[in-house]
Amino acid sequence: MAVKIRLKRMGAKKRPAYRIVVADSKTQRDGRSIEEIGYYDPTTDPVTFKVHEERAISWLDKGAIPTPTVKTIFRRAGVIEKWQEARSSRDKSQGNN
């Protein structure tokens, strides 16, 4: 079962807003999701988003794949960077043992 981190569209017609969710790749967009880890609102100026860093990193560690859009949002939120740092420092510490 492939787990993806993708956007779930909320809001109304012509007023889109999104939640960042972790979901099985086979479920419908607004269908059941495993967990909500943030939101993204493109209608504000500037764009607003919030990512629950700890949960996002934990899901990335478990192998969940973010869609390109979510990846961009993560990158802007600095999540990808932190995840890579955490991973490399963990690899190092494992290598030392």
């Binding site: 993708r6 956007l7 779930k8 569209r9 017609k13 012509k14 889109p16 790749s25 419908q28 967009r29 993204y40 493109p42 209608t43 764009v47 869609t67 390109p68 859009t69 979510v70 961009t72 949002i73």
Partner: protein, 136 residues
Amino acid sequence: MLTKTAGMDSDSMKKSYHESPERIHEIIMLRDIYEGLLPPRQKQVAYLKFDEDLSLSEIAQRLGISRQGCDDAVRRCVRALYSYEHKLGFMKQLARIEHALELAENMDHTNWQDMRERILKVLKDARAGGETVDGV
């Protein structure tokens, strides 16, 4: 290795939708406005791609078509949406209405004269349909 982009006009088409969240937002706004004009297949593919945030292979799997077929449909759809906007300009008009609303919401007894002028200007621009009032 060189990739051929026969049938696509330029870099703008190559990057038609694999872009920033802002670009995706723009396409979704256009889709919300011009949805009724799209052929059924393009409408379906656009929904899965931009609303459900699915990858091309996931869409292909779900619809039982090839990945390349999906890619073509998405590109055709994006191109059609921008062409509708170019000809009809409803998204631009919507942005003007939103702007006028925002000004009206921020109007109070201290700034009403300035706001009134600005709202009138936005609405006159909207009525002129893209041309500046003086330029008509």
